[in-house]
Symmetry: C2
Subunit: 299 residues, 2 copies
C-alpha cells in the first residue's frame, strides 16, 4: 500500500548543461508510474471504514486516476474515474488495469466537475480531488521529504505545476524540512495559468490549453495558489520545444523514460532560470504513449 | 575512470509474467550507456605507459567503440575505432563525442579485421578486441559480481551473447562467486551462431546476420565459445518479435530505456526457457536511436 521510496539519480551531462549539480527524484519509478500514487494512497488510507465502503471517485487527465484506482484496489474498494475524452490511450488502459471504472467527459473543467457530481450522486463514493485536497497534498509532499533526506542543503527545488497539489505539498514540506531551500514552479508557457495567477495575485484559470505536457493542462487550485502566494520563489515558463528537447535529453543521456510534464522543470533548469548550485528536480511521471512520441518536434 | 556501480531494479509486472523474481542489473546506466565500459576501462588501465602512448584501436558495432573512446580519453590517449557502415547514427556520434577517431568499413567480420589491421599498422595503437581479450572479459565480469553481491542465491543469470565477452566474464565470475547459479546465454534466432556453435561443439560463425539487436550481430569468439562449452547451462534463442515485445514491456513498465540487445535475455525469461525462481538479468545497454524506434513491429 505504501509508495515506493524512489531513487535519486544524477547526470554529468545535464549538470554540465545546467552549470549546477542536479538531483532527480525519480517518481517515474513510483507505483502506477507517477508521484500521484503518494497523494492517492495517503487519501484512501485516511478514509473511515464507513466512507471507504462506497469507494472513491475523481476526475483526472490520467495519472491521478490510475493512482487512485490502484490505491482503492489495494484497500479493496471501488474507484470511479471521470476522464476527459482527450486522455491518452495508455492512461485509460492503466486505470482499467487497476480495476477503475471510467466515465469519459468533454475536456473542460466544467464538464469534469458536472460529470463527477453525477457519479458521486449515484455511487456515494468519496470524492478525492486530484490536487485541491489537504490529504492529497500531504501525500505529495513525501517525495520532497525523501529527496531532502538523501540530498541535504539543496539551494532550490523545482516541480512542475498543473493543479498545484505537488507544488503545495513540496512547498509545505520544504518550509518545515529544509527552510533555506527555495521552491520554484515550472510550467508550460502554453498553459501558464499558474504564472499569470502568481503575477496577478488571484487565480486566473486556463481554458482547455494546448500543451504536450498532458499532466499540466488542469488549472491551478486553491491550495496550489496559496503556496504560490506564500511559499515559493517564482514560476518559470518553458516553450513546447524546450519541453521536448529536455525530454529527449533525459531519455538519451539518463536512459530513463519521463513523460512531457516531467521535462518541464528540467527545461526550466536547462535555461538557467532557477538559481542555485545544488538543485532538486522532481521527475513526476513516466507514462507515455510509445506509439505517439514527440521527438520529431525537436529535430 | 572506474565503472559506475549500477543499480539493480525489480518489477512486479515482469515478475508476474515470468513467474519468477527477476533482478535487473542496469548497465544501461553505465558510463557511455553500456556494460562495455567495464571491459574497455579495465583493458586501458592495464596498458604500460609505453603501450598507452600510441593509443588503442578496435572494431565495434558501437558500444565497445564508444566505451573504448571514453576509457582512452580518461587516460589521455588516442582511440581509433573501426565501425561498420551500417552503424546507427547515435553510436557513431557517441564515439566522436568522446574524441574517438572513426574509420568506416563494410559490415562483415573480414572487412572489420582488414581495416583494423591497416589502422594498427599506421598508428602502432594497441588493439583491444571487443570481446576476445582476457582483459576485456575480466572487466565485463564485474557486472555479475556486483549483482551477486546485492542479490545472493540466484538460481540463474542470463546475459545476451554476441561476441561472447560478457558471457565469458559472467560465466567465469559466477563459477567463482556463486557456483550454484546456472548461467544462460540468450541470442536472437536471426543471429544464432552461439546456439549453433553450442550444439555443434565447434565455432560456426554467422555472416552479416539481420537482427534488430545490433549489439549481437558479431560472431562468437574463442573465449565465449570456451565458456559455452565448459561453464554454461544453455543458449536460448528468441524471435525478433519477442525482442521488440520485451523491449516495449521494459520501457512501459520499468520506465527505463534499454536497447534491443538488452531485451534479448528479458525475452528469454518471459518465454520461460530459463529455469529458476530467482533470476538475474544483465540489461547490457541503453543506446537507441529515438528517431528509429521499432515499436510498430509489436502492434
Amino acid at each position: 500500500m505504501k509508495p515506493i521510496r524512489t531513487p535519486v539519480m544524477t547526470s554529468r551531462t545535464l549538470d554540465g548543461l545546467a552549470s549546477a549539480s542536479l538531483f532527480f527524484k525519480c517518481e517515474n519509478f513510483q507505483r502506477a508510474g507517477a508521484f500521484k500514487f503518494r497523494g492517492a494512497s495517503h487519501a484512501v488510507s485516511s478514509l473511515s471504514e464507513e466512507e471507504a465502503r462506497h469507494g472513491v471517485a475523481t476526475h483526472s487527465s490520467g495519472n491521478h486516476g490510475a493512482a487512485l484506482a490502484l490505491a482503492a484496489r489495494l484497500r479493496g474498494i471501488p474507484a470511479f474515474i471521470v476522464m476527459p475524452s482527450t486522455t491518452l490511450g495508455p492512461k485509460k488502459a492503466a486505470v482499467e488495469a487497476y480495476g477503475g471504472k471510467i466515465t469519459l467527459c468533454e475536456p473542460t473543467l466544467e464538464a469534469r466537475e458536472t460529470t463527477l457530481a453525477q457519479v458521486v450522486a449515484e455511487t456515494h463514493a468519496t470524492f478525492i480531488h486530484p490536487y485541491d485536497d489537504p490529504r492529497v497534498v500531504a501525500g505529495q509532499g513525501t517525495a520532497s521529504r525523501e529527496l531532502f533526506d538523501e540530498c541535504p542543503n539543496l539551494d532550490a527545488i523545482v516541480v512542475p505545476v498543473g493543479g498545484g497539489g505537488l507544488l503545495a505539498g513540496t512547498a509545505q514540506t520544504t518550509k518545515i524540512v529544509s527552510p533555506t531551500t527555495r521552491v520554484f514552479a515550472a510550467e508550460p508557457a502554453a498553459a501558464d495559468d499558474a504564472y499569470r495567477s502568481w503575477k496577478a495575485g488571484r487565480i486566473i484559470p486556463s481554458n482547455n490549453p494546448k500543451t504536450i505536457a498532458d499532466g499540466l493542462r488542469t488549472s491551478l487550485g486553491n491550495l496550489g495558489f496559496a503556496a504560490i502566494q506564500n511559499l515559493i520563489s517564482g514560476v518559470v515558463t518553458v516553450s513546447e520545444e524546450e519541453i521536448v528537447t529536455a525530454m529527449r535529453l533525459v531519455w538519451e543521456r539518463m536512459k530513463i523514460i519521463i513523460e512531457p510534464s516531467s521535462a518541464v522543470p528540467v527545461a526550466a533548469v536547462l535555461k538557467r532560470e532557477v538559481p542555485g548550485k545544488r538543485i532538486g528536480i522532481i521527475l513526476t511521471g513516466g507514462n507515455v504513449d510509445l506509439d505517439a512520441l514527440p521527438f520529431n518536434l525537436s529535430k
